[in-house]
Subunit: 490 residues, 2 copies
């Protein structure tokens, strides 16, 4: 056979695999993250081999890796659902709150076979979707339909599903903020589409500017791109802004006028620190403007990985899909079936975050205390880092009104930019790599998120433990001073 | 703007979505499954509206939905990992075996932050991969490398990843058995590739015939398809055969000669019922033939959903990837990063199934007893159904040597075929729909898996509770008799 004449042991080569796989990049898990893992292994093998004792992963929003404790109620319910005999064991009576036990019983009753080991309906367990829909109604004051919910393994699976549905060639465009959470750029490239950028306005707290949206849509359309959807991340990642309701209304009107699908990444909805800001879901905004199912197509993404719960490892989340025709909804359903179903523990956690303990429940006070401790500490940590960055030479940093990140801009000396170019590296990646090598602190360079040409940024999570945050800020500041001294223009 | 002249409220229509989404079908969750859900809702709303009380889902391998209990050791470890304070609580001491507690402690020590709520390394927690690698070495007697393991949310995510890596156009072909587990046909279509069929030999216990493989490869190649990989499912789904080692060796040689990637679906490796058969992993077979990393590229898929554990809802599994060049491995790693990581509970279960309690551990005897109870009962249930099918007019059924299914062939009367054609339905789908409407029993028609043209089959799981299996077999037999009487050729 002709093919066996080729003496290679495999037909799978860089030339034969999917070229989209070759092309795409995912900055959060990219080169810097690999270098950090390498350093960590070296440190473990040879302690003392670097001027630091540990790697501090400020590159990923992974709260529990920094010691943030899980919410007790969530874990009690999970443990009981996985080990239901404990519900009846006398010895176990004192180990769980009454409402944890009641919730576990209620959830088990909703699962066919009363077992967390089952495949569920591809959209998720119906009873849990009912619970989430009630939570959405309580949040928004507008009806929510459990059949519009697709429970997913974290928000990412939801994004995969949507990109799979929307993209079939590079003619298919998705409007994305710049800077953006690089999962969007990664998946748009991996599914073979085109990212149509719109720039957030850094000078005005990373605001979304409608004229910019219009301009970019026009440019893309006139170059033959079929723009299908607009991604908005609110609260913003990596930028931390919380959109004003007036701006959200303009965005909704823009999507309605342009018949664009609005993909609302709302995973940080429980992370708002600015006292003058509040989270409003795009669905609530659209409904409050009088727009219903027939006026606008909207997908909201949520996740159990963020908020005060931070259950990244549970891989739970959902998408709420409204304003789709039944035919398109059926197609999305079909896509969901090839994932079978989201893992049941993640489904359970998703239902709990949308329906936490209520006043009068045994867990209520301790739940609120845990929540407030985490959120108020995150707000203080954000403030500490923001002030530290703003006090550094050539650095300006917008407030983290929400989410889990700061995204400061650094004005780098010409010599540093030249030094980066000499090693074929973006200047911000060069800076971040130098920081990692000298402090063990891992950031993500702005180039991974996109930024206005000629500006340089990095993303830093606000997640390290509060008793370490000042020391971390100091280490970054010391490094920054040395770096600037080294490369300062003569 | 030109686009807003179109007065549709959305640009997302059947004409604008990804045509691969429109095209693909996933039979296990298809039309029959939708009808079953509809009937169930009607039964719940109006009991007595059908000649049966419940829907019996023999269409999906979902053991715990039939009341199969989870393995105690697995659940004790999960509950402790999710709620570590129980490890120290005096009241909890009697609730868990000593080895569950030790295992939970060991696992928590392996997780950064000792928390099941973290994102892990994209390939999975290193310590759990070490455990799985040791389990593979014990199983096969050949070295296994933890860095070759990618922990996944069930085997399906692994199949997604591989199809994403391999397929970029309809010129990319994957050799698949017919009949096949329809996730393969679904994903190959969804990713835009071409399924190159090879037919299993029903007359010889669904054997894989090498001359058939060669013929189909040749035909596909000569029509311009770049065949990249060969899927083998062992034990077989839907066909239940366990491949003989000699046949596996021929398959390995074929892949080596043709430089094909071997995708070995080995999720039923713990489900072998035939006393004269044994599971051999393709890696063990290849290594025992003297073939190493440079001779053959091989991916083995495993899952926590099957075996005696049946933890479908945990969405755990792994792929073991050997014989890939470092460059291709890096590309696969990149694909894994856009899923972040598999859920941690699933990762933990995957490590436990590859490293169960050992002789001397407190749980060992009860673990073995639970395992044997489930596996021996499955073997008896398979036998009962096999005999029932073989006693039905016009039905022949190969033995379920392994896996969880029977795939009998039904010879339908001409009049039944005509009646099916009259309602635009495949004859086997017609039969399965009639069965569902009159008994509440859900099967999957053979046309969903593929079959030799002009033959008709259905797939039936062996999972209903043992005390119900005879009644179910009787109901199918009664229906079958009525159906045959109704449509018998004059």
């Amino acid at each position: 056979m002709a093919s066996s004449a080729d003496c290679s042991s495999t037909r799978i080569t860089l030339q034969t695999i999917n070229p989209n796989v070759l092309k795409f990049e995912y900055a959060v898990r990219g080169e810097i993250s690999d270098l950090a893992q390498k350093l960590q292994e070296e440190l473990e093998a040879k302690p003392g081999s670097y001027p630091f004792d540990e790697i501090i992963y400020c590159n990923i929003g992974n709260p529990q890796s920094f010691g943030q404790p899980p919410i007790t109620f969530i874990r009690e319910v999970l443990a009981l659902c996985d080990r239901p005999p404990m519900l009846d064991m006398r010895e176990a009576q004192g180990l769980f709150s009454v409402d944890s036990k009641n919730r576990a019983l209620q959830i088990l009753d909703q699962i066919p076979g009363r077992a967390t080991g089952v495949y569920s309906h591809a959209q998720g367990i119906k009873g849990l979707r009912d619970t989430i829909a009630s939570g959405l109604e309580a949040r928004d004051g507008f009806p929510a339909n459990p059949n519009d919910l697709f429970l997913t393994d974290g928000a990412s699976t939801g994004v995969h599903m949507m990109m799979h549905l929307l993209i079939s060639s590079e003619k298919d465009g998705i409007l994305c903020p710049i800077p953006q959470y690089p999962l969007y750029s990664a998946l748009i490239a991996l599914y073979g589409g085109t990212l149509v950028p719109y720039y957030l306005d850094e000078a005005h707290g990373w605001r979304v500017d409608i004229s910019e949206l219009k301009k970019q849509l026009e440019t893309a359309t006139s170059s033959g791109i079929n723009v299908k959807a607009l991604v908005v991340i609110n609260p913003g990642n990596p930028t931390g802004q919380v959109l004003a309701e007036a701006d959200q209304k303009e965005i909704v009107d823009f999507c309605k006028e342009e018949a664009l699908l609005l993909l609302a990444d709302e995973v940080y909805q429980d992370n708002v620190y600015a006292e003058d800001k509040q989270f409003h879901s795009f669905k609530k905004v659209a409904r409050s403007m009088g727009y219903g199912e027939n006026d606008i197509s909207l997908v909201s993404f949520h996740s159990v990985s963020k908020g005060f719960y931070g259950e990244c490892g549970k891989r739970g989340g959902y998408i709420e899909v409204t304003g789709f025709s039944p035919q398109i909804r059926d197609q999305l359903y079909k896509v969901s079936t090839v994932h079978h179903c989201a893992n049941i523990s993640g489904q359970i956690v998703a239902s709990i975050i949308m329906s936490p303990p209520k006043l009068g429940d045994e867990s209520y006070e301790s739940f609120c205390a845990e929540k407030d401790t985490i959120l108020s500490s995150l707000a203080r940590r954000a403030k500490t880092l923001e002030e530290a960055f703003n006090s550094m030479e050539g650095v300006t940093c917008n407030k983290a009104e929400g989410a889990m990140y700061l995204f400061p801009q650094i004005r780098l000396p010409e010599k540093a930019i030249k030094a980066a170019e000499a090693v074929n590296t973006a200047p911000d990646a060069f800076y971040v790599r130098c920081l990692l090598n000298s402090t063990g602190i891992v950031l993500v360079p702005g180039s991974g998120f996109g930024q206005v040409r000629g500006t340089w940024h990095f993303r830093c999570t606000i997640l390290p433990a509060e008793n370490k945050i000042t020391a971390i800020a100091d280490r970054i500041a010391e490094f920054h001073k040395r770096f600037m001294d080294q490369y300062r223009n003569a």
